[in-house]
């Protein structure tokens, strides 16, 4: 494999000499090994003070590991961590916090029932009356000061549960600032946000850097890196490919650095012959585990050779809707008709046998049995099919051949059928599931986040396969929080918000902004109500598997 990025290491070197005195963070030759894996191999990272530095790479490239080294969660096997010109050895995140480093995780660590102020001060409460009571006024005053300084619109007395995801993220940032952080690490900060919230985040980052704070953000999305960052360091397979200036590079080039070869960024769709209706859902209502109605009266129809996309912020009922369709959750009312048969009361088994393939949202819980090897996982769902079993006995040789075929076709690495599922990286686990479900010879494919956590190269392949299935006259129901994905692949696009469809439309008729508004529960006509997405419903859950 060639190293397209090597010439850029010179750039990085240049940065070092030019601004050596003004580095907020300097990671020098960091190597971090885990049993059987080198997560970081001699990685250098130079971050200028007051800049936004993106750490770009595919899943498993070692981005988070590197940041966990900086945040004191891991001790590197080799290399130096230099903060503000002083070499540091962090034994724990507390040491890192003391050195002025803050990290905002993808999953927020906030107590839902407490107020913004209580969350921010938690563990650091200023005291009054000789330590007898918490000085609430002081906390709120300090937080208001912080908000004023950085232009945050956050009410310290609001309860976290009532705050939108975007606000919660700001609370996390405030928490880090409150503890005196000068360097903020954001791990995939946009994974849980609507497009409007993402814009808001960019503004926050700008304000922070203007005030001299340094930002490092981890991402695998090219657009974000080029849009928001002053410098981009690309990691691939645990090694640094180099640091580039986003103004002097293209998305295609960056993609090539990440993957190590040329990639097609957007799937090419052409019009397709649409056949009879395969799946039709009528007025379905579904309750979640707590008995709350999260899907209220949705109708949908997927025809042969058609991709129906469902876009929406996670937690708006799409998971329960899909479970009701695939037979994992009984709907409260409504009907599911599959291939002209009313399958509302059918078991999951019967639906699988009838030709329903399902790529589940949660691959660790559902899609794979983590402690089983890939051979055994290859038959998950088909363990009673005629193809792989005869009078109750499983034909393990046949299963092994089948699994090896999936591994080869879908480029699952390592290509070892006897590897346990849990030993694979998230992207490779996903490729295996996608392969298994695509090769089931289905009538309908229900694909939820089929490329979540999958690298660009494999995403391209999965998209191609989806389009091939579509050409072959298979009905496809696609749920994704990746807007580019649903927009480019879908023939029709439904937007779900709080358990109902906002709109079902041709994706080409919808701008990204319009789509974002629909996802936030606002119809474009009534956008005057609010131009930021902060008023969004609190039911939006943090996306738990965003990068898994």
């Amino acid at each position: 494999m060639t190293e397209p990025g090597t010439e850029h290491t010179d750039d990085a070197g240049g940065v070092e000499t030019a601004t050596a005195g003004d580095l907020a963070v300097h990671l020098d030759g960091i190597t971090k090994r885990f049993p059987g894996v080198v997560a970081n191999d001699d990685v250098d990272l130079l971050v200028e003070r007051g800049s936004v530095h993106a750490l770009l790479g595919e899943n498993g490239a070692g981005k988070t590991t590197l940041m966990n080294v900086l945040y004191g969660l891991y001790e590197p096997n080799e290399g130096r961590v230099v903060v503000d010109g002083t070499e540091r050895a962090f034994g724990s995140p507390r040491d890192a916090i003391d050195a002025g480093i803050g990290m905002i995780h993808q999953h927020f660590m906030l107590v839902d029932t407490m107020t913004v102020a209580e969350n921010i001060a938690l563990g650091n409460e200023p005291r009054k009356w000789f330590g007898m009571a918490v000085d609430r006024e002081r906390i709120e005053r300090e937080i208001r000061d912080l908000c004023d300084r950085y232009g945050f619109d956050v009410d310290p007395t609001a309860t976290i549960a009532d705050c939108s995801v975007g606000v919660q993220q700001r609370v996390e940032i405030l928490k880090a600032l409150y503890r005196g952080a000068d360097v903020l690490i954001l791990d995939e900060p946009t994974a849980v946000l609507t497009p409007q919230e993402v814009e808001g985040l960019y503004d926050v980052l700008e304000e922070l850097t203007a005030q001299g704070k340094t930002i490092i953000f981890i991402t695998h999305k090219l657009g974000e890196a080029t849009h928001a960052a002053d410098a981009i360091t690309v990691l691939r397979d645990g090694e640094s490919v180099g640091t580039v200036d986003p103004n002097r590079t293209t998305r295609e080039e960056l993609a090539e650095y990440m993957v190590g070869r040329e990639v097609l960024l957007e799937a090419e769709t052409e019009p397709n012959e649409v056949g009879e209706t395969i799946l039709s859902v009528e007025d379905i209502a579904v309750e979640d585990a707590r008995g709350v109605e999260v899907v209220s009266g949705i109708d949908l129809e997927v025809r042969a050779g058609e991709i129906l996309g469902i876009a929406g912020v996670d937690g708006n009922g799409q998971a329960e809707l899909i479970e009701a369709i695939t037979g994992l959750r009984a709907p409260e009312r409504g009907s599911v008709v599959f291939d002209d048969a009313d399958v509302t009361d059918w078991s999951r088994r019967d639906r699988i046998d009838a030709g329903m393939s399902y790529i589940p949202e949660d691959r660790h819980e559902r899609g794979l049995v983590m402690s089983f090897d890939l051979v055994e996982n290859g038959v998950l769902g088909s363990q009673r099919s005629e193809e792989f079993s005869e009078s109750g006995r499983i034909d393990w040789q046949g299963v092994r051949d089948h699994s090896e075929e999936i591994i080869e076709t879908y480029d699952v690495r390592p290509p070892d059928a006897e590897a346990d599922a849990e030993s694979l990286s998230g992207g490779n686990q996903q490729k295996f599931i996608v392969g298994r479900e695509f090769e089931r010879d289905p009538r309908l494919v229900v694909a939820t986040h089929p490329t979540r956590g999958v690298d660009i190269g494999s995403t391209e392949f999965i998209h191609e396969r989806l389009l091939e299935l579509r050409r072959a006259g298979i009905a496809i129901l696609l749920v994704s929080s990746n807007l580019d994905e649903v927009r480019s692949l879908s023939d029709r696009l439904a937007v779900i918000y709080e358990g109902s469809f906002m709109d079902v439309t041709d994706p080409d008729d919808l701008t990204e902004e319009g789509l974002g508004l629909l996802m936030a529960g606002e119809r474009p006509e009534s956008r005057a109500a609010s131009d930021s997405a902060d008023g969004m419903s609190p039911t939006t859950d943090a996306d738990s598997g965003g990068d898994a």
Binding site: P35, G36, V37, N59, G60, K63, T64, T65, N68, G72, L73, P93, R94, I97, M103, H105, Q106, H107, M109, L122, G123, R179, D187, E188, I218, H220, L328, S347, R348, R349, R351, I352, D353, Y358, P360, D362, E365, G367, V369, M370, S371, F372, V379, L380, G381, Q383, R384, S389, G392, I394, W396, E422, S423, S425, G426, G453, G545, G546, D547, A548
Partner: protein
Amino acid sequence: MRQRLEALLERLVRASIVERIAISIAALFASILVGGVLVFVSGAFASCQTGLNVAGWTFCYNPMQVYYELFLGALGHPLEGGWSPGNHRLATTLQQTTLLIFTGLSFAVAYRAGLFNIGTQGQLVVGGLATAVTVVYASLVVPSGVVGTVVLIPLGVLAGAVAGGFFGAIPGALKAYADANEVITTIMLNFVAVGITSTLLSWQFQDPDSPNPGTRRIPEYAEIPNIPLVGFSSRANFSLLALAFAIALMIGIAWLLARTSFGYELRTSGVQPEAAAYSGVDEKRMIVTSMTLSGALGGIGGALWVLMQHGRWLESVPPLGFDGIAVSILAANNPLGIGVSALLFGVLDSGSSAIGTATAVPPELVGILSGLIILFVAMPEFFRMIGTRYVEVGSSDLVRTDGGELAEDGATADDGGERDD
């Protein structure tokens, strides 16, 4: 400290099969070492005529002799003259081994399906009574002799399996349809089993000619016959046929779990119920089915206890069902390993009585020695069982290098750090 413990636990969870066997053997030797010291020191507090004199102390017990008796005594002293394979001690060892294979399998099947069946004892008690009663009453209509043997033994085993299976299905159904924790219900049903059987006994089935609470004897031709060639005496109450049946069942269960669709679904339900549901398994039915199978195996254990050991059902049932839990855990709930661990338990059982006859060591101390062996050998596997769950959600994610998991993992450490501030 915590980190080191976590690392050790993870190392244990990831140990290969060879390493695990090596760990078990090392643990066995460690327990002998510790137990040996214990026996030796205890000897200083006992009074005896002859003993080892050191610095004014008299050490009465010889640890070497104690362990010699424990292990080789259980086999009938094979290194001494006049040994024959049909001796009484070896028969007792294998008798216990046979019965423990059934109860061990009972626990293992449920465990592999993700269920803790603590109720094997109760299933064995109920199954045993069903066997005894069925055979006693059936013998009134079935001709005696060879025909009786061929009809009554399978009938008795079947009765035990059905009764035990039914008694296992109850907690299964309670869990599946009423969400009642099976650990609690199976423990409670053990008492229910004792109560029911004792009531039935006094109501109808008590042997009027016997002072001991128990059923009438089954006819001699209905007891599991021995193979005369090997020379186990009929007094030994052990049958090679029964052992062969136990081993066959053991292999059958291993095959069922590994090779069949049902076994695949059972194992999937055990490790990841969500994935099982995804693959089309009816979870509730799987819980009832696997508990029924588990109970049936316990019931067969009760049947063999009646048909092989006593020829009748007695109210004083030994804790074979509870020992089965230890047997299964020791074998890492692997059906094929259960044979080996059941043999160890059999050896400890009959070796203990061999020590009693050959040395002056009190039975309480012998109990401690075999307890130590079980404790030492089972602990690594036990921690592995706990660790598998722990490591799956915790540190195994370190191996994966993709962001999400690491962020989560880091979150916990982060939390801790903040709280300390």
